[in-house]
């Protein structure tokens, strides 16, 4: 075991996989020599060579297309999109190509690319460096969508993504790269060094895609969250002294409905959370499915804690961010109902 932040854990995942499998290669804008603007691919070029860790031109569509072609030949490309806000030029290649090659060729070709991309706000990134566009990709049959919330999961899930026979869009909540975050702006940055999920094995391990985890047990209300908001939800429950059960979804596609339903059937109350804008977000899918599965166990309407239906503002970032107070309000609402 070693202490790792999420950047180091992701780097360790890539390092492990590149060591084990010569077909694994990594590339992206600034992702080669320099090791990525967030340093996730640091040292890989030195260790594995220019043709396994290299810089790509600034063209996300070309990067995605190149990755698809490489995967069609049997390589395992891990392509970085520098910020998930920049993924849109590559959308046609993901939505119309990568996700459907297996289907439209009836399995004759497969293109299991891993797309790594930092997402979410909380780093003063303004509207072009803060988005959480995960819901777009949950509308795309053929890709899996993953978003870890801590270093241990990040490494295990990235290894699973690289080993997956299917394409994976792997979202990295960048607010959590360097430390856990409880949703309060300002103050000193916390360290993963003091967090149990900052203990990361140095070797190879993987966590199953499609499995959620109950990270805080409780009986009063279930909070389903993923990414940064998992930690915020836990902190909010502590702060309010509410016996909330918090589920870290980890995988959005395919999401773990069993774990969610078991919890909601137990607590009878549910909050679903996302950092993205509210309308048509992934929380809406969760709410719809939960009411289908658990309607007769529900004591109160399902509440959503989300970003606002606005672009992510720069100066008023913390008014946008769904922090602990919004979770506490939602918990009070469902508990009072």
């Amino acid at each position: 075991m070693a202490k790792m932040n999420m950047i180091q854990a992701l780097n360790s995942a890539l390092d492990n996989m590149m060591e084990r499998d010569p077909d694994v290669i990594s590339f992206g804008e600034d992702a080669g020599y320099f090791g990525g603007v967030f340093r996730v691919t640091a040292n890989l070029q030195t260790k594995y060579g220019l043709d396994r860790s290299f810089d790509a031109p600034i063209n996300e569509a070309a990067i995605m297309g190149m990755a698809i072609g490489m995967a069609a030949k049997g390589l395992k490309p891990v392509a970085e999109i520098q910020f998930s806000d920049y993924i849109f030029p590559g959308l046609d290649q993901i939505v119309s190509e990568m996700s459907r090659i297996r289907y439209r060729t009836a399995g004759a070709f497969t293109t299991p690319v891993v797309v790594r991309t930092p997402c979410g706000g909380g780093i003063r990134g303004g509207q072009t460096h803060s988005m959480s566009p995960e819901a777009f990709f949950t509308q795309v049959p053929g890709v899996q969508v993953v978003m870890p919330s801590n270093p241990y999961d990040a490494k295990g899930l990235l290894i699973a993504a690289i080993e997956s026979p299917d394409p994976v869009i792997f979202f990295e909540p960048k607010r959590l790269y360097n430390g856990p975050f409880e949703g309060h702006s300002g103050g000193a940055l916390a360290s993963w060094g003091n967090h149990p999920k900052g203990e990361v094995p140095e070797g190879h391990y993987s966590l199953p895609i499609g499995k959620a985890e109950v990270v805080r047990e409780g009986s009063a209300v279930t909070i389903v969250a993923y990414g940064t908001l998992v930690l915020v939800a836990q902190a909010a429950a502590e702060k309010a002294g509410i016996d909330a059960e918090v589920i870290d979804l980890k995988t959005l596609v395919p999401y773990d409905i069993e774990t969610i339903a078991r919890s909601v059937n137990k607590t009878g109350r549910c909050i679903v959370a996302q950092e993205a804008p509210r309308t048509s977000g992934f929380a809406a899918e969760l709410a719809a499915q939960i009411q289908e599965e658990c309607f007769f166990a529900l004591e109160a309407p399902i509440q959503r804690v989300t970003g606002w239906d606005t672009p992510y503002p720069h100066a008023h970032e913390w008014s946008y961010f769904p922090g602990p107070d919004r979770f506490i309000n939602a918990m009070n609402t469902v508990l009072e109902a």
Binding site: G74, P89, Q93, R104, T110, G142
Partner: protein, 409 residues
Amino acid sequence: MAHTEPRFHVPSPHVRPGDKPDFSHIAIPPAGEAKRPDTAVPGMETQDLALGLVRVLDHNHQAVGEWDPKLDADVLREGLRHMVLTRVYDDRMLKLQRQGKMSFYMKSTGEEAVAVAGAMAMSKDDMVFPSYRQQGILFARGRDIVEMMCHCISNSRDNLKGRQLPVHYTWAEGKFFSISGNLATQLPQAVGYAMACEYRGDGEIAATWIGDGSTAEGDFHGALVLASTYRAPVIVNVVNNQWAISTFQGIAAGEAPTFAYKGLGYGLASLRVDGNDFLAVYAATQWAAKRARDGHGTTVIEHFTYRADAHSTSDDPSGYRPKGENEIWPLGDPVERLKQHLIGLGEWDDERHAALEKELNELVIASYKEAESHGTLHDGPLSPVESIFEDVYAEPDWRLRRQRQDLGV
């Protein structure tokens, strides 16, 4: 009719429906004029070739000049056979579409040489990322015609389980990648595939095809950046057949003198070739394939040709171009030109040609009969309904398993 001078420049073709077909504005350099440089030439030194026109067959159907690939008569006859088969197949499939046997069809009439000669000049181990008008590659690589038809009529034997529109073929064993309806997406994919060939060091290269209109897509330019940056062993074929559905090539070309010329901006070797000249297409592809295999990178080849028929069965060209243009296309008909070349060599004659057409017609008719015995889109049998839930992922997850139950299959 009132005429308002446009306030900004919008290119327009020389003639429109009702006008007399006219290609007098197209300069056709004589066959044999183009120089054939060494395949290791720096890309920028191909400027004359990007602006000119590589032609081998002259107006007497004789092979002339440095680009003559000097092929054996057997190879020429094989090429002719694949081209005639492509044409016969297209004509029959169009008729069948008109009879309601399939939802959609796209002919490649007039462009047979681009696909057939291109495929024959490469190794069968090389990967191709075609667009939707290169069915000739499949014939050149020996794809079973019945299988092609079963795909087009989406029946129980369609190798794509009825998931793709007709003519969007895939044939993995023949190194023929899946055709997309989204234009130009295959370009960066072909480059990535070619880079993976280099990575594997297996001597394989890749080729891709794109229409003149689709060169306006970002993926074309992104692919050329990649190809240039990583010196990928890939051949980028731009099939300039003058028309993107109803839009003439000038809307995509803009002020660029040729489509091949665009490759020079990326420092890539770029050739403009008479796409109706089997020998020229063969020679250019052979040149580009050697260049790629020897580690000198990508070649852009513009195939200058003419889409002799409609874009697809959903299109009516009489709405945007004069009738009869294909008959006066200055570079003629690719099948007729290769036929006349072989006759000139004393290696072919009208009787043998008529017999070939008859044989291939019968083959296509018999193949359709067999294909139809496996069902049609209209009357079935199709692939099993439950197959719609297969191949979305390697294994269906709970959502797909439940949805299959919901559908009751």
